[in-house]
């Protein structure tokens, strides 16, 4: 060993690999046991935790969907009553949007982005831990409320006046509104972490034109989160204020306005669709590049399409309100912008098709899910262009046609790529491979089950079946299709069950994965599967877009970092030139305590406004404990 030691500590310069790993592990590892688990700030542990929790919520939301299909399979069924049915569809939508779709995409980013940009931890690791605890608390709040028959029953977008003080007595609507606060706080926290990680912690040399497409997609998504989510936080806060202290934001009798709610909700709600879709686009690009064995066609066009989608996403919200009686000119504008967003989406589809055309595709499970994505999402996109037109939308508004459309867009656009991504990155997440055989079965069942379940809903909608009804009369011409849909739902559920079985089984006893099982070219595959606590023993230097594509040309590395404190590199925003060595904070219990204090205040404030006053004191104490220096080596400069 030839370690260079100076007054401050030991650097990695010239250190041998075994010694370096030993020292870095001692500095970066999360201590074992419960305390370690509660205080960890390792982005990989928190990311995995986030992903698993989100999939648990997916499974729970799936069970709710099955309950609804059971009820709707026959006319005038008595399996679920109207009140419980209202709670079930509200829970299904809220759970899938706020507790599954957005968090799972951000969770994948928490795990992957630091690895893909070649750094050792996410920016603001303690905020990351705090974010997870807030998310978990929000999820528990919603589901425990549902378990005690206080689940929200006002639809996932909680329109006033139905959700206002006059028509929604009790605390059900408040539970919904406060769950929003929990999940938005956690989502905003991750967005800030991702933006700063991508801006400032990229490996030296990873200039803007060498950022992997998945990282680009998460960067754009994070800005969407930052700009869209304040709208829903203000909306849900105003709703709670109307319900708790008698403000009149949404009360027309005292100068308020119910459409204000719809504007605020959809100003968030439409970008929300892209907050879910854009990460999926990044996943598709990663998978397509690896399984066609060539770079994605049109990198610049892809990045521009991501940014264009992000900008246009804020100009579409009124198309959710076409039947609300808005001025005609406004409707025409929003029709045009809604159709315009099909352009960047189409551009990306054609870039992927060109990549597949020019590449040598390998039809493994992740790639199958990408093919499924292209088919399903294109159908969802086409019905999207249809409902962008006001006369057509007026006809099918609030019918099963819309239900079919948004499941095609969201499941097709996000869940298919996500499942592909889980198969693709599973070795990096767990160190083991998932089963190719079960994967193919699972894809086949999910793809056929999905189309058989949701395609007939278009027809049901055109036949006039409204959404959100708990039953229908036998005279209606809907019962045959409904029975067919419910039976197809079982096929879909079986596909998901198989996926879960495969994931759990493989995590325990799947074949051990090498560092780069698919021969991929992005940085996360340059380290072992799963990566060590410090991600990279030596931070890489990047000289091209696909750093692992040329095996004969080894990765350049950085030298001169301390090994006895958590240290990473800060680089410039554009060219990613190294600017500073920076420390990264270690484990701390304070984020959990801060989350507990915040949760207590938020839940208490459903009942009395004074909770905001008294509940802020423990939060302030927790935050001071969090930020007060403890004399760690990470605090030195």
């Amino acid at each position: 060993m030839r370690a260079v030691a100076d007054r401050e500590g030991v650097r990695d310069t010239g250190m041998e690999a075994v010694e370096l790993d030993r020292r870095l592990a001692a500095t970066w590892s999360t201590p074992p046991g419960l305390w370690g688990a509660l205080s960890t700030v390792d982005h990989k542990i928190i990311g995995r935790r986030y992903i698993v929790t989100a999939f648990v919520f997916l499974a729970l939301g799936g069970v709710l969907a099955l309950l609804m299909r059971l009820q709707l399979a026959q006319p005038e069924a008595r399996f679920v009553g109207p009140d419980r049915y209202n709670q079930i569809f509200t829970m299904h939508g809220s759970n899938m949007m706020f507790l599954f779709a957005v968090p799972v995409m951000q969770a994948m980013a928490i795990y992957l982005v630091p690895l893909m940009v070649g750094t050792r931890n996410i920016a603001f690791p303690r905020l990351n831990a705090f974010s997870y605890w807030m998310y978990l608390a929000g999820g528990l709040l919603l589901w425990i409320a549902f378990a005690v028959d206080t689940g929200p029953d006002v639809g996932w977008f909680a329109y006033v006046p139905l959700s206002g003080p006059q028509y929604a007595a009790g605390k059900r609507a408040d539970i919904w509104a406060q769950m929003i606060t929990f999940t938005e706080v956690s989502a905003l926290a991750i967005a800030v972490e991702i933006v700063v990680t991508v801006f400032k912690q990229r490996a030296p040399g990873m200039s803007l034109d060498r950022i992997p497409l998945f990282v680009w997609s998460m960067l754009v998504t994070s800005f969407l989160v930052i700009l869209a989510m304040p709208a829903i936080m203000i909306a849900s806060t105003s709703l709670i204020l109307d319900r708790l202290v008698g403000t009149h934001f949404f009360n027309p009798a005292e100068g308020g306005d119910v459409l204000l709610w719809q504007h605020l909700f959809w100003f968030f709600g439409h970008p929300e669709v892209y907050i879910i879709f854009l990460p999926a686009v990044g996943m598709v690009s990663s998978i397509v590049a690896t399984f066609t064995q060539r770079p994605v066609f049109g990198y610049l066009a892809m990045v521009m399409a991501l940014i264009a989608t992000g900008v246009l996403a804020f100009g579409l919200w009124v198309h959710h309100m076409f039947v609300a009686g808005l001025p005609r000119l406004g409707e025409s504008f929003f029709t045009a912008s809604s159709m315009a967003i099909a352009v960047p989406a189409g551009l990306q589809i054609f870039c992927w098709l060109a990549t597949i055309w020019a590449g040598r595709p390998i039809f493994k499970t992740p790639f199958l899910f990408v093919i499924g994505f292209i088919v399903v999402f294109v159908i969802g996109g086409l019905t999207g262009v249809m409902v962008a037109s006001v006369p057509f939308d007026t006809q099918v508004h609030d019918t099963y046609f819309v239900v079919a459309h948004f499941h095609y867009v969201l499941v097709g656009g996000a869940v298919f790529p996500l499942l592909g991504a889980v198969y693709y990155w599973f070795p990096k997440l767990t160190g083991r491979m998932m089963s190719e055989t079960l994967g193919r079965w699972s894809f086949g069942l999910i793809f056929s089950g999905f189309n058989l379940t949701f395609f007939p809903m278009h027809i049901l909608g055109l036949q006039g079946m409204p959404r959100r009804i708990y039953t229908y009369q036998p005279e209606m011409p809907w019962s045959g299709l409904n029975m067919f849909i419910s039976l197809s739902g079982i096929v879909l559920a079986a596909g998901f069950l198989l996926f879960f079985i495969d994931a759990i089984r493989s995590a325990r006893s799947g074949p051990v994965a090498p560092a780069n099982p698919w021969g991929a070219s992005t940085l996360e595959w340059a380290t072992s599967s799963p990566p060590p606590s410090y991600n990279f023993a030596r931070l890489p230097v990047i000289e091209r877009l696909e750093p692992l594509s040329d095996r004969s040309d080894p990765l350049g590395i950085v030298e001169g970092l301390y090994t006895d404190r958590r240290e990473l590199l800060i680089t410039g925003v554009v060219e990613a030139r190294a600017q500073a060595r920076e420390s990264s904070v270690g484990s701390s219990i304070w984020p959990l305590l801060a989350a507990l204090a915040t949760s207590a205040m938020l839940i208490w404030s459903i009942f009395t406004p004074w909770a905001v006053v008294w509940g802020s004191i423990p939060i302030a104490v927790a935050l001071i404990g969090w930020f007060w220096p403890k004399g760690d080596p990470e605090d030195e400069t």
Partner: protein
Amino acid sequence: MKHDVVLDVTELPAHGLGTASLSWWGTLAFMLIEGTGFVLSIVIYLYLMSVAPRWPLDTAPPDLLAGTTLTVVLLVSLIPNVFVTRWARSQDLRKVRMGLIVMSLVGVLPLILRVFEFPAMHIKWDQNAYGSIVWVMLGLHTTHILTDLGETVVLTSLMFTRHGDNARRFGDVADNAMYWNFVVLTWLPMYVCLYWVPRL
């Protein structure tokens, strides 16, 4: 995999300052989030005004004295704040301590004035939608003064401990000063909206 050492970072600073600091960027991102919140509150104000038959609803425009005095106080507070930023950049511990004490005291003044601003609106939050939005806007901004004051007081105490003389702390002081600028500057459009738009 084989490796070549292509970059030696031994000589790089052990902490990023200014735009090389993560917390500087983090502060900026949180300002973007909160700034969006402020903008939306103004949008709601204007939206409610657009659907109202007259504005302000069933009351007179707010009295100018408390709000205008507060605006002047906030603007004047930028002067010591600029000095604190400069001293933090030059890492002058004695001056930073002094500046932070001044800023802690300066932070209390707008809170006192704010107490007089709420009654100057001539309306309660539960009387009508106009009352609701002006109370929420004032409340939202008050929260920001309060949190920044809290942060300033904690930082002031911190600078008097052994942890104070540290480039990281000076960075925190500079970021905190930047955040105060944000709290002052976001008030200006809100002041115009709350006090002058009803007089149009």
